[in-house]
Amino acid sequence: VSGGPPPLPPVRVERALGLMPELEALAPLRALLVSISRPDERAQWSSSGPYLTLGKRGVYPDELRRHLPQVLHRVAEHVQVLSKAYVEALEAQQRNDAAGVVAALLRGGGLEEQVGRLAQAAAWYDLALGVAEALQDRRPEVEALRAVGYLCLRRGQRADGARHFQRALALAEAEFDQAGAIAACEGLGDAVFAQGDWAGSYAWYNRGLRLAEQADDAAQIGRLERRLGVLARNQGDLAGAGEYLRRARERFESRGPADEMARVLSAQGQLDAELGRHAAAAAAYREALAWAQRAPGDPGLELSVRLHLAELDLSAGALLDAEAELRRAEQVAIAGNLPDRLAQIYTLMGTLRGAQQDETGFVFFEQAVELARAVEHSPAAEAQVYHAYGLFRHRLGAHEEARAYLERARELFDALGEAVERARVDAELRALSA
């Protein structure tokens, strides 16, 4: 096309975000800005193209303006469903149905969680818990404790999460609430798994599984079998892991929810990868993506599978495929409003550049550190980035810097009480000294 004025260049995301005050009210606008940002097509083939990160993507004010009604509609919709949950709580209060009040408040918290507003979700859950604690029927309290427990895990507060699940289990058992007890065992297993306590995690999952089998709850059995499979793989029992996953797969294949099937296949892919069966792993991941496609609404699930695929390609030395997969994962994270996952994606991208002996790959780690601090607010994520950054520097022969980054990772893991991760970093530091 010739003629006409040359189009104005887009504004870089790093500059655009720098012009937006850090106000909670502007969070939807911030999310919209990130989700519509695109890599500058002129940069696609430039030598800086392979190093493109979120900050260097471009956004057009015109396009932002065009999408504004959409975001305003979404905000209004969210406020509307929250208000509806509150009105339902009021109606329950009016008819003296305290359990109904708790359920409605938990619904409000769940809606906040869905859009990533974790602090707001905590406010709803705390209210629900306060109401539930005064009830004679303890089942609403079990529900509330479970919601708070999972929220704690999402926020990286594992010990707090475990404490809430422990209380939920005690109450559920006292009330003969089997479903509540199963769910609490699952939560406890998740909490101690995240803390690296494999034996403890096994005990909780196994207890949950026995209860679920007694209750003949197929969905819970499948979920716990998948978790036991993942745990067994982490413990090095690959045959046991295969058996658990096979059972979970059989259970979900005919009638299970698509997202659970995707998770089972994703775990199967990780197991196949560990067994060196690359083709089988790739096939499992591809099928997991197909199941995830049937269960839309959870871009995080698709993203996780794509990251596993990228790791598989990376370990097989298929660097072009790994890069393409990471770029797809980046697009899913950006379009699906999951900027907190970008730190993980850029860390892997940096590792990939390290495998190519490409020094400029450090830009990915720098961006990942920034995202872990500013978007994710997660010292655990920051520590993971520093760990990988240290290994990257080591690979490129910058041993002094490698040591400094690994020590920073150790410091952060220490503060978080992450013994397993700290031990891994310690091992790297010892290897560096040797």
Binding site: P5, R42, S46, S48, D62, E63, V363
Partner: protein, 474 residues
């Protein structure tokens, strides 16, 4: 410069012409959405299978389709798109990229929009058919695939190239000969050089060639991509920093200027540098000394500077985004690199060079390219120039299964372009609406989706453009 090196000759590969009447294996995947009409599709294709020479199998849903795709080779996947056809199309393109034998996609949708058709073409989809399926439309798509199968192999020519470390200068076009002469003239001195050229034209390779043939060849060649590095880190990357100079300065760092001591510092994409940093570069060039960030010592530097850009620096000076004094310091000698389009038949030489290079890397033996694949390469716009061609060749070599690089081994985008060029004469002339939709789509691509700018170019009001975009599903 040393004389060009001739690569080993590859034996002439005789390739039998594929049989155009061969039966095609087709996997029909019905839509999962309610009322998707998938059952009708399978029913119809089953009915037409014999006279259209198809071996038909069906997959009841997406996960099983993925399993069937992994299990054996397929020529075609006929997929019914659901209620979100654009998303479904992207999903299929991604899935088939990893499938056994890279089958071609025929997408079927209820009342497909013009936007969907254009997008599908761009992605290399064989055809988009509307539901309910019509036999003649399916037959036309199959004919297109069968015609495409009749490709003739052309042996790849021998290539004389000039090795520059792990890189190479390839080409015999007059435009490149001028570049070689300039490299030879400038290499012997230590003069600062500015290399200008579009993205992917080989600016870094030329910089390396100047370095290895210059007086500082025994020193290091240090490249810095100024656009890749965040603004706040670029200064310390170039000049280094002392420990604790800023948050994150965990150790003392030696900068790239110091790393390049006695050698060459290549500053790529220099136009992306902030004005403040440009001032510091100017000082380093003028004074031949630098200071680390947070340091007080002055460090003398002995480096040859080569800068490169894909922008028009004079234009940037006019807009106040680049310092004029720095421009004149850098542009002591300017080398302008031609685009791939300006290099004529260098395209074939570069293709042959990259195919051999990657065939060696991936342990393959490819000695020829098909006539159709070559036509596609010649018809492509190559906005990414040699870098884009290299990328396409690497992908092609990875997916190639025999000793000929065929059209099917090229990316969907190139195949889509070829389909657009080739198919219309067979399918008849474009309607006015099709022509308008295509033009609007191309203008929007040019303005990168900016409606205001697109409306200005098209000479219509933005509301009219918005209405047309909606009408055509763009």
């Amino acid at each position: 410069m040393t004389p060009p090196v001739r690569t080993n000759s590859v034996p002439h590969v005789a390739v039998p012409r594929p049989d155009a009447t061969v039966r095609l294996r087709i996997l029909v995947v019905e839509g999962e959405s309610e009322g998707g009409g998938g059952t009708d599709v399978l029913h119809h294709v089953g009915q037409w299978a014999e006279d259209t020479r198809l071996d038909v199998e069906a997959a009841p849903d997406l996960p099983r389709a993925v399993r069937q795709l992994a299990g054996r080779r397929w020529d075609i996947v006929l997929a019914v798109l659901g209620e979100r056809p654009d998303d479904d199309l992207s999903w299929w393109i991604d899935t088939l990229r990893a499938a056994n034998g890279t089958p071609r996609l025929i997408a079927a949708a209820k009342a497909p929009s013009m936007g969907l058709v254009l997008r599908a073409q761009k992605l290399g989809v064989l055809d988009v058919l509307s539901l309910p399926l019509r036999r003649e439309e399916l037959v036309r798509a199959l004919e297109r695939l069968r015609n495409a199968a009749t490709e003739t192999a052309i042996p790849l020519p021998e290539v004389a190239h000039h090795a520059v470390g792990q890189y190479a200068l390839v080409g015999q076009s007059p435009a490149m000969l001028d570049v070689y002469k300039l490299i030879a003239q400038v290499a012997a001195s230590t003069a600062t050089v500015l290399i200008q050229g579009e993205s992917g034209t080989g600016k870094e390779v030329v910089a390396r060639a100047i370095h290895v043939h210059g007086p500082k060849a025994s020193g290091a060649f240090v490249a810095v991509n100024c656009a890749a590095i965040p603004e706040n880190l670029l200064e310390s990357e170039l000049f280094g920093h002392e420990k604790g100079a800023f948050t994150g300065a965990v150790t003392r760092k030696v900068g790239r200027f110091e790393h390049a001591a006695g050698g060459t510092l290549f500053l790529d994409e220099i136009a992306d540098m902030s004005l403040a940093l440009q001032a510091k570069i100017l000082r380093a060039v003028q004074e031949r000394e630098i200071e680390r960030v947070g340091g007080t010592d002055t460090i003398p530097i002995d480096v040859r500077l080569i800068a490169a850009t894909n922008r028009d620096l004079k234009d940037a000076i006019k807009q106040g985004r680049f310092r004029e004094d720095l421009y004149y310091r850098l542009a002591v000698v300017t080398i302008r690199l031609p685009t791939l389009a300006e290099r004529g038949d260098d395209l074939l030489l570069l293709t042959a060079f990259f195919v051999r290079q990657f065939a060696e890397r991936y342990g393959k033996r490819i000695g020829a390219i098909s006539d159709r694949a070559l036509d596609m390469l010649r018809g492509h716009a190559w906005v990414g120039n040699v870098r884009e061609l290299r990328n396409v060749m690497e992908r092609g070599v990875i997916v190639a299964t025999d000793d000929v690089l065929r059209a099917d081994h090229l990316p969907e985008e190139l195949r889509g372009e070829a389909a657009t060029r080739i198919d219309r004469p067979e399918g008849g002339l474009l309607t006015l609406a099709e022509l308008e939709a295509r033009h609007i789509a191309s203008v929007l691509a040019h303005t990168q989706g900016q409606i205001g700018a697109a409306a200005d170019i098209l000479g219509i009001h933005r509301n009219t453009l918005t209405r047309k975009m909606k009408e055509y599903g763009l």
